[in-house]
Point group: C2
Chain length 346, copies 2
């Protein structure tokens, strides 16, 4: 049995091996993705991002456990966690992260956890995360958490891969948190104030709510803010039209270390998924994701093809002329493109 | 007088306008960069990065002031600050940031501060930051601080544009700081524990030192750790050979809000610049920076050229087939590349 068949049959070892192939961008990984792609499109992708120190990993662990042990009599669903780990290989950060998680979720065949290093991914981190998520989707995981540490642009791009994006905050994390919140507010579907047993939780919550009001002034006056509901304009006796169903990100409190608030977050995630499906937004987000993934892939292929037409010596010669200020960057780029396209090259 | 002449003559308005052109990737901006590029290569680029809440902006303000008002009788040098601001345009984060800075440094013609939004940059944020830094370099700024909020991959890439990279930490910022430190330790030339009047400063410092020991085991046993000196192997009566001059990142304490520790950081920055020049590392880093900038630019041009060969309808058709799982991402990319290269296209 080959890796693809193993993955489709639910074998963990085959899954782990194939993910490694896909991460490395090997030809085997690419062939496998081609074959597996028709099995994708079923999973609910949940991005989790926010500043360091907010306790995102604990929250994701709690949510994974809650999906595995439902309180309302529903069937447990299969959960995967892809954690983008900014640690360097030499300190073994990724391994440590996995071990900490394993304590909680070890031995459950319905849970799969994978840390990905954020360095050196072929075609960019977004591309390689998208590919790993596709493998997990094809392998039949129902909920796939994509967790990014940090709040930089690449983390935000990765969170955008998701159907539902959770932004996690915590009280008292310092003075430039405000600025970061403003940036990630646009992508948040659900806002969480974790470590809500700490002093300052009211301030953090108030700050988030007033930023939400700036972003959604009309809806917020309906008073539906923070309840996690749809910000529907009230109509008498009829269901609201689809275009009126605007999602107002709820602001929820959790203390992930104690598990409190987890059920409310899970309920909000499920409400958001239902909202996406009702409004057609689910398809729209999926299309946007596939298009952006395609762009990343094209970019990588174009650069690789161009690079084949230029020798190392030619490239280094141009860089030297750049360093000597003989050429500007634009002039250097044009010369290199001409070289790669020159017809009398062998 | 056009913008390029204005910038070379030190006019602030011309500088601000040209930077906007360059940020927008306009043809005027590109022409100006071609003409200005021969004036670049003189500035000392100083990257400042680290987790949110560590007080990076205050530290950069203090350092800018210290370079403008030297305590040792040296001439003041011209200072520019490029702050990569993750705020979204709609909340006005970038403007706010500028205003806060302006209180401290306003009215000094030897200081120029610019916030850059981290979204929507043509050819990527690294490319557009590199271009803005080139303009400031040509305009005669001696020290250019490139400050990034956050510790994600794109921030690290931007910090890598610099000759000297400062990584700022602060005591008690939470549990996944450790992982981030591991990732950015590799790029740190100087480590700073800011807010050093807070409890826990010894722990933060100890953690940083033990991670340094993991990274540089041999040098650290020489006892030169934390003194900011070169980790030279001791030789009797001779100067150490160049290849033995290994820079060990010093760990320095500051309380930027009170200005304490600023002079020590400034001294370490200058020591690092001298080290780079003595060892030839200055040229090597410059070359690496120019090459990486050239790669970003090439990538943007390649994608733009390819895009011209494909119609919107063709692209959307392929994306639809991707969404229907008719094609895998690799198959879709190959079809699009064939389309763009097809000879019977008009």
């Amino acid at each position: 049995m080959n890796l693809v068949e193993g993955v489709l049959a639910g074998e963990r070892l085959a899954l782990a091996r194939l993910i490694t192939q896909v991460e490395n961008g090997s030809p085997e990984g690419r062939d496998a993705l081609n074959r597996l792609f028709s099995y994708t499109g079923r999973a609910h992708l949940i991005g989790v991002t926010g500043s360091p120190g907010t306790g995102k990993s604990s929250l994701v662990n709690q949510l994974a456990r809650a999906y595995r042990h439902p309180m309302d009599g529903r069937q447990p669903v299969k959960v995967a966690v892809v954690a983008i780990d900014p640690s360097s290989p030499f300190t073994g950060g990724a391994l440590l992260g996995d071990r900490v998680r394993m304590r909680d979720l070890a031995g459950d065949p319905g849970v799969f956890v994978r840390s990905m290093a954020s360095r050196g991914a072929l075609g960019g981190l977004s591309r390689s995360t998208a590919a790993v998520v596709q493998v997990l989707d094809a392998a039949g995981f129902d909920k796939i958490f994509i967790e990014t540490v940090g709040a930089g642009q690449s983390e935000v791009d990765i969170a955008r891969l998701a159907h539902t994006t959770l932004v996690v905050e915590a009280p008292g994390l310092g003075d430039d948190i405000q600025a970061i919140k403003a940036g990630i507010l646009e992508i948040a579907d659900i806002l969480i104030v974790n470590k809500a047993d700490r002093p300052g939780v009211e301030n953090t919550e108030r700050a988030l709510r007033s930023m939400l009001e700036l972003a959604h002034p009309e809806q917020m006056q309906m008073g539906s803010c923070g309840r996690g509901g749809h910000g529907n304009k009230p109509r008498t006796g009829t269901l609201p039209a689809l275009e009126d169903q605007i999602w107002i990100p709820p602001v929820l409190r959790t203390v992930a270390m104690q598990g409190s608030g987890t059920q409310e977050v899970l309920a909000a995630i499920e409400r958001h998924a239902a909202h996406l499906r009702e409004t057609g937004e689910w398809q729209a987000r999926e299309r946007e994701r596939l298009e952006s993934d395609l762009n990343n892939l094209l970019q990588a292929i174009l650069v690789a093809r161009w690079r084949e037409g230029v020798s190392d010596a030619e490239l280094q010669d141009i860089v030297s002329r750049l360093q000597d200020r003989d050429l500007s960057p634009y002039q250097a780029a044009e010369q290199l493109l001409d070289l790669a396209e020159s017809p009398n090259k062998v």
